[in-house]
């Protein structure tokens, strides 16, 4: 909490929040959609950390995934397609006391919002950024997204995407001043929870790419990965996540990876055949923009009046 002027632990003792306290409207996602599990993980992490619902803001863009705020019983901002990050950063800029979550999709974040993605990573404000990457535009009914594999037909590219998919991890790991980069699959509840919990605890922008199943439009993408566990590589480390053997054994392909090692993280991300799961990179000390943008927050009215007059003096005759 260094540098933050929040007071968010003040009331926690006399209020205990249950999962129900974070649940909003009934989710309207399709049956079997990976979004349900991610939402459950978010509710649990909120409950476990006992964050105050009124101090929590879930921000999103537009897409299936961006419906998430409606399913929270906190404050929420369901804004424009691609623009969740600028709004979330703006909220955090002068309200570092608020706990800000961002839910966005592969189209929302990696396509229309790509500029904001790069820059938000660099601002490194304290946000928990969950990218629901289903490899497709869900809400608008099956158009190619930047991460759609070439062999998956879509309504805009019936014979498959024309170009190889964008690798969001290498892009993110290439941005200056990143502080937390992780990847998970929606269908492993323990991994999901551990990583989102760590992401939330981290002070800085925690980028979590969630490989999310959309059984309605691109069932093959999820199925393939579920059937070929060797294509996934679980990363564990004392500085990253540590899982029970029971969970670990679900991943035949595993590695110890120190998340403070950026070069190693980049090498793992580069591998297009095997998807690393867990925390790729973590730097708790990267500068956070909100510590700069929140200057002057506690100035009194008298101080401001004096400052105003000083400013006018600069132009006085």
């Amino acid at each position: 909490m260094f540098g933050l002027k929040g007071d968010w632990s003040l009331e926690v003792k006399d209020r205990y929040f249950t999962l129900q306290d974070y649940c909003g409207a009934e989710p309207r996602w399709c049956t079997g959609c990976g979004d349900h599990g991610i939402l459950a993980a978010v509710h649990r992490v909120c409950r476990d950390s006992q964050i105050r619902p009124e101090k929590t803001v879930a921000v999103s863009g537009i897409g299936c995934s961006s419906r998430l705020p409606h399913y929270m019983n906190t404050y929420g901002f369901h804004g424009l397609h691609g623009r969740a990050l600028p709004v979330a950063c703006g909220i955090k800029s002068r309200r570092p006391d608020l706990d800000v979550w961002v839910a966005t999709g592969d189209g929302d974040c990696f396509s229309i919002g790509a500029a904001h993605w790069i820059h938000a990573m660099r601002y490194n404000m304290d946000l928990t950024l969950l990218v629901f990457d289903n490899g497709i535009y869900g809400l608008t009914k099956k158009q190619t997204s930047p991460t759609t594999p070439m062999d998956v037909p879509t309504n805009t590219h019936p014979s498959g995407a024309l170009l190889p998919p964008l690798n969001p991890l290498t892009v993110t790991l290439g941005v200056t001043n990143i502080s937390f980069v992780a990847q998970i699959v929606d269908w492993n509840a323990v991994l999901r929870h551990e990583v989102i919990k760590k992401a939330h605890e981290h002070k800085g922008t925690s980028f979590v790419r969630i490989i999310q199943r959309c059984p309605v439009y691109v069932e093959a993408i999820g199925k393939r990965l579920q059937n070929e566990p060797a294509r996934l590589k679980l990363l564990t480390h004392e500085k990253g996540i540590q899982l029970d053997d029971g969970v670990k054994n679900m991943f035949p392909n595993r590695a110890e990876h120190d998340p403070s090692d950026l070069a190693a993280a980049r090498a793992l991300a580069q591998d297009e055949e095997v998807l690393p799961l867990g925390i790729l990179y973590h730097n708790p000390d990267a500068p956070r923009y909100e510590t700069m943008s929140s200057v002057g927050l506690e100035m009194s009215v008298d101080e401001k009046l004096a400052g105003m007059n000083e400013a006018l003096d600069h132009f006085a005759i």
Binding site: H78, R95, L98, K304
Partner: protein, 718 residues
């Protein structure tokens, strides 16, 4: 009537707008001081009375000329007053100070020679001496245009007066030109008249390049032929005595010259010079002070021009600050208690943020330079949603990018101040030049119905106060407010009454008290459309803001009734605001032949032209609108008091005389279009996109032409 011939003796007499005037030509050598001729109105329409009255004036004119001639030494008789290309021919200063009411001076140079800095300091010093001032920057669109090119002209106009000055005025009285080519672009703009004094750098006469020497000589002859009074001055040569590269520094020499010519306070000038070069260290300040002193001494020893512009403005203003419109807007942001300005650089808006970057910390604020304009407004919207007052500052192309976000702010009722410093359009347009082209886009630019408050500042003072008002309106009406200013206001420097900032101007502190759970986040009042909003941190107020159609509970609602209700409520807020307003005040008589309607930065020029016309007995008045959405009430009634109503604007309309244009297909200017729809009155317009502010002289000619039409029409029907 005005064309009717008068037979008989009209010596020294001429008629203007039915009134007789007297004039006497001034001998050539004295024109630099007295102008082309001496003239004044005889205040009579009767030729006999004029014939009798003229002699007194003629005698007075002759005495004035004789006095000046006596003061001047005999040797000046034929040569232009101060051709000092040859230093040996310089003459000592004369004690001929001329008192003038106002003077317009321009400094033009190649880009990078610092003419603007020179003029800005001259303007600042004049303002600080208590003179009325208005400056207009002459900016080439390119950063590094080629040297000695007409289109590369960079510079500044400074209009100084005894009283308040509200606009750039007509032709300049004096111009300092660093080369002869840049002068041409200003001549093409009609910036000068016969008798304008030109102080021209003479180094080009000896340039090693024959082509340049030739250009220079040709231009010189041309300027003389056009009636400009040219004095060639060895500015470069003089500066070389102090510095190796006078391209940097010449401007301070010229500033010294002008401070001598206009009797400016040299201490004040030196303070401003020191401020300008503060970051470069004492050595640089010293050399610039030396250049200033050298220029001052040079003008004293070599030029006969000395003007005094008494400072009456200081009596009018209790205490003043001298600022341009962008600084005013920046100070307004601070005085409004706005905490965050989120922006992306764009001319001519950026300097407001430059200013804030210097001083915003004094009131605890922060400037966020975003990755683009969409992010800039998104960031501001985020802060505002979280209960912090925020503002975004931009210009036309940036407004275009922000459109979707503005629609979101309207839909979700997020308070926000958006300042649009308008520039030439469309597309990248004329980045540095003035236009009033964003009016309709501001009102109607977003998809669907997107009612919001739009106001326009007409003065530099309003650039300040309207930000304070915009912040209050945004919060009271839970809506974005667009404040339109423009490139003319942005860079125009003027002394304004120092605002007496009060703590009520500041936004209320962040409210984190609990919210009554029974009150919906959009608890629209049926009668007004207004509602209070919960702020994150308020317990019990949790809601999900959405840009989708929603009901009072901020729940997504696709049903017809909810959609209609939301639309009604958002629109009703504007009606509520309009109901609180009084009809605007007409400048001039409330009835008459012609009413000019304007908005934004044209106020000063329009009122100056209208005042002059009224002095001449013409029945013209003007109305200047500050609120564009909603419009102020009572317009139809006001308009019905005039035979003709027309807008004057700096945006595009078809010239009525252009090929194929007729009354039906003519595309008219933006305010005219709005007012016609609003009042169903046949409102005419005169609008131009010259890339510079409108001048009172041009507006005066429009007034005359329209009055003649009205007179013609009524005499036909009579």
């Amino acid at each position: 009537m005005s064309n009717q011939r008068i037979s008989g003796d009209t010596k020294y007499l001429f008629k203007r707008d039915r009134t007789w005037w007297v004039k006497l030509s001034v001998p050539r050598p004295l024109r630099g001081v007295l102008g082309y001729d001496l003239r004044r109105s005889l205040h009579t329409q009767d030729i006999e009375a004029a014939r009798r009255a003229r002699w007194e004036a003629i005698e007075e004119f002759r005495a004035k000329i004789e006095k000046l001639r006596a003061e001047q030494s005999g040797e000046v008789a034929e040569a232009p007053a101060a051709t000092v290309s040859d230093p040996d021919r310089t003459r000592p200063a004369k004690d001929g100070i001329r008192r003038v009411d106002q003077h317009i001076v321009e400094i033009v140079s190649d880009s990078g020679e610092g003419a603007q800095k020179c003029g800005q300091i001259l303007g600042l010093v004049s303002g600080k001496m208590g003179n009325g001032v208005w400056t207009v920057e002459i900016i080439p669109a390119e950063i590094q245009p080629p040297a000695r090119e007409r289109q590369g002209a960079s510079g500044i106009r400074v209009r100084m007066g005894s009283k308040k000055i509200t606009n750039m005025g007509n032709e300049a009285d004096m111009v300092v030109a660093f080369n002869e080519q840049v002068l041409y672009s200003r001549i093409d703009n009609g910036a000068y008249r016969k008798g304008t004094i030109v102080l021209l750098e003479s180094m080009w006469a000896e340039d090693p390049d024959e082509r340049i020497r030739k250009q220079y000589q040709e231009a010189l002859a041309d300027f003389h032929a056009q009636g400009l009074i040219v004095h060639e001055l060895p500015i470069q040569k003089e500066c070389l005595k102090l510095v190796n590269d006078p391209r940097r520094g010449k401007n301070m020499f010229v500033l010294g010259m002008l401070c001598r010519i206009y009797h400016r306070d040299t201490d004040k000038a030196k303070i401003e010079i020191a401020k300008t070069f503060k970051k470069k260290g004492d050595k640089v300040i010293k050399i610039n002070h030396d250049l200033f002193d050298a220029g001052y001494a040079f003008a004293r020893d070599n030029l006969d021009y000395e003007f005094e512009i008494p400072a009456a403005e200081k009596d009018r203003l209790k205490s003043a600050v001298v600022i341009n419109g962008n600084t005013a807007a920046g100070l307004g942001v601070m005085a409004a208690g706005i905490e965050l300005v989120s922006m992306y650089p764009i001319t001519p808006a950026t300097s407001a943020s430059h200013y804030l970057a210097e001083d915003f910390h004094l009131t605890g604020g922060f400037v966020h330079q975003a990755e683009d304009e969409i992010a800039a407004i998104g960031f501001a919207i985020g802060a505002s949603y979280a209960g912090k007052t925020a503002c975004t500052i931009t210009s036309g192309p940036g407004m275009a990018l922000k459109t979707e976000m503005i629609g979101l702010a309207v839909m979700a009722e997020i308070p926000l101040v958006i300042i649009d410093v308008q520039r030439g359009s469309p597309s990248t347009g004329l980045p540095t030049k003035v236009e009033q082209g964003d009016l309709l886009a501001s009102l109607y630019g977003a998809p669907g119905d997107s009612p919001k408050i739009v106001i326009a500042a007409a003065t530099i003072s309003e650039c300040f106060h309207f930000v304070v008002m915009a912040r209050k309106l945004a919060e009271s009406f839970r809506t974005p407010v667009i404040l339109l200013t423009d490139a003319n206001l942005a860079t125009g420097v003027q002394p304004i009454e120092r605002p007496d900032v009060s703590e009520e101007w500041f936004a209320a502190p962040l409210d984190q008290s609990a919210w009554d759970e029974n009150v919906a986040p959009y608890d629209w009042d049926e009668a007004t459309g207004l509602s209070d909003r919960p702020i994150p941190g308020m317990r019990g107020g949790e809601y999900i803001l959405t840009g989708l159609a929603h009901n009072r509970h901020s729940k997504i609602a696709y049903d017809s009734a909810s959609n209609q209700e939301g639309m009604n409520m958002r629109s009703r807020k504007l009606t509520t605001l309009a109901a609180t307003m009084k009809p605007p005040e007409v400048h001039g008589d409330p009835t008459g032949d012609l009413l000019i309607v304007g908005w934004g930065s044209t106020l000063g020029a329009i009122e100056e032209a209208v005042d002059l016309a009224r002095l001449q007995g013409k029945k013209v008045s003007t109305l200047h609108l500050r609120f564009l959405s909603p419009l102020e009430p009572g317009l139809k009634k006001i308009f019905s008091g005039f035979k003709k109503v027309m807008t004057i604007e700096i945006n595009y309309s078809d010239d009525p005389d252009a090929p194929m244009i007729n009354k039906e297909n003519r595309r008219i200017s933006q305010l005219a279009l709005m007012l016609r729809a609003h009042t169903l009155i046949d409102i005419d317009c005169w609008s131009k996109v010259p890339g510079h502010p409108l001048q009172p002289g041009a507006i005066g000619r429009v007034i005359d032409a329209r009055l003649a039409e009205i007179e013609g029409a009524s005499s036909c029907s009579a």
